[in-house]
Symmetry: C2
């Protein structure tokens, strides 16, 4: 008989939480029971899991009794506070926040890249940053073929990365802008409708944002490549869902576009969409709601000796968050 699991979802009413419930159902994850947890603000709301309507409970120290797997997607502070409690209660935590990603005894896992790292867990496994995960889905197979040294990347990040309220903000601001009215920004420091913001997350002393350094830091850990370098500019764009990344990558070995395309076409979780002359390339609009990421615009980089330029799009809420977390749970 197949074992089934008692599951807790922390942040069940958020954008990622909603996707988690849907992915667990869609992939027929063996759920014995499901506890939906959130802050006091959302307590009493109901969420849908399969054909059940589940009442959302307030997150507390007692929330993790008899839980086998706890998914956290309620931000860094909630994870910092409650993940240790969940762990102490015997649950395995799969954490979508950045709280523990770089800790030495916490595996940081993309199942298509480093599934074996899950085995090292001590009750806590971290889910990578969304932009990093989406970019690595294409960088890693190319690394296996050509050995990556460094990348230069710019992101085009959807507002879904900032949660459900940011999606509402984009919508409300857009409605207002079309009527020549203005809505005061709540989530972002500046209006996002018909604008782009070269800021995602807070700034470090170096001038990079935290988000921008994740591709290098998390990329090193996930690919087991301590010398990997990544210079990234992260930009928020007025797109609801799905991130895109323009990447230029330098490799140790000689590259060819034909071989790169073959490698990318065969990579798990990735689809090669690369017919420029038919105007076919990845776009956020086309990958929203899809499990796989898409890669295209593959070309020999004209400013590097062994370089490739390419373009990746992926659903930030799925491969960038909920799907990856459930895939980790499946590895367990």
């Amino acid at each position: 008989m197949r074992k089934s699991y008692h599951i807790a979802v922390v942040g069940a009413t958020g954008a990622v939480g909603a996707e988690l419930l849907s992915v667990l159902a869609r992939r027929s994850f063996p759920v014995a029971s499901l506890r939906a947890l959130s802050s006091a603000r959302s307590t009493g709301k109901r969420v849908q899991f399969r054909d059940e309507s589940i009442e959302v409970e307030e997150l507390s120290e007692k929330s993790f009794e008899k839980i086998d797997i706890a998914f956290f997607s309620a931000g860094r502070d909630v994870s910092r506070k409650f993940a240790p409690l969940a762990r102490a209660a015997g649950a395995i935590v799969i954490d979508n926040s950045s709280a523990f990603r770089m800790e030495l005894d916490v595996p940081l896992v993309i199942p298509e890249i480093n599934p074996e790292d899950v085995n090292e867990h001590r009750g806590l496994i971290a889910n990578p940053n969304c932009t990093t995960a989406i970019a690595l889905m294409a960088i890693y197979p190319l690394h296996r073929a050509f050995v990556v040294r460094r990348v230069f990347a710019s992101s085009y990040q959807a507002v879904s990365g900032s949660g459900a309220r940011a999606i509402e903000e984009l919508k409300a601001q857009t409605e207002a802008a079309l009527r020549d009215r203005q809505v005061t920004p709540q989530i972002y420091p500046h209006p996002i409708a018909f604008n782009v913001l070269p800021q995602v997350d807070t700034f470090l002393e170096s001038g990079y944002t935290k988000e921008e350094m994740k591709m290098q830091n998390e990329g090193r850990k996930i690919m087991h490549l301590p010398e990997f370098r990544a210079s990234v500019t992260c930009v928020r764009v007025p797109v609801y869902r799905a991130h895109s990344v323009a990447v230029t990558a330098e490799f140790e070995n000689q590259v060819s576009v034909r071989q790169a395309r073959e490698v990318l076409a065969e990579a798990p979780g990735l689809e090669l969409v690369d017919e420029p002359h038919n105007n076919r390339y990845p776009m956020p609009r086309n990958v929203a709601g899809k499990d796989h990421c898409e890669v295209g615009r593959v070309r020999l980089d004209c400013a590097l000796e062994n370089g490739l330029a390419f373009w990746v799009s992926g659903d930030q809420l799925l491969k960038g968050a909920a799907l990856n977390a459930v895939q980790i749970a499946e590895l367990l």
Copy 2:
């Protein structure tokens, strides 16, 4: 007595044409007479120049009699056909299209960078590509300080770059998307509302688009740097007006952020907006309608030895087109 000039504006009813009329007026360019020209479709419309309403005439072989300066902003094909006629009639052509930019005997000029090249003209001066012009406004002063070798850049291009009808298309698609309706794209191959398109212009055999190679090709000519390399990804974003470019640049000499900021702060036509901790950086929303470009997010590049990463925004219709053209005319 100050000389004044008989001016023709080809493409007077387009997005750039409208800005040209406004820039000529705003900068008190010495206009003796102004002839507004367009295709048959717009003939009979009226455009406003200062306090005059001018009837738009159909462009023909006879349009350039007694004209001193002819501004062309009606696309490559119109320039190919009519610029030689204007020149033959004795006018100096300032062409905003890509038709003649790379021809050896045609100066390609950004007045803040290579004003002296104007003197080489033989009746035709080309205005650079908008994304190239905006990026070079920051790259060139840094080159003077540190000697640039190559850049990696990604663009965030507004729809105004595709003309007045593209602005209408973004608006109509956005309205429709908010009502869960769809509008068939006319200007772009895919919907642009709440989406980003990794395609600007047509594709070359190399996999780059024509637009993407302009930064290298035009950059070499404008900066007199035949070895300059630029790997660019050009992306259309749902912004009405003003382009942005994320740039990583490698230099021959050692760089410092302090010196880079000083150089950028003093560069003509450029404003340094670089206070990340106060959430101040360039954004399309803030530069739309402004003559100067803005640069910020200046930082030491973490994947290069002598590299700087930065972010530039500029109004594509002004510095990227109309303003630069009028500045060229002023040099004459």
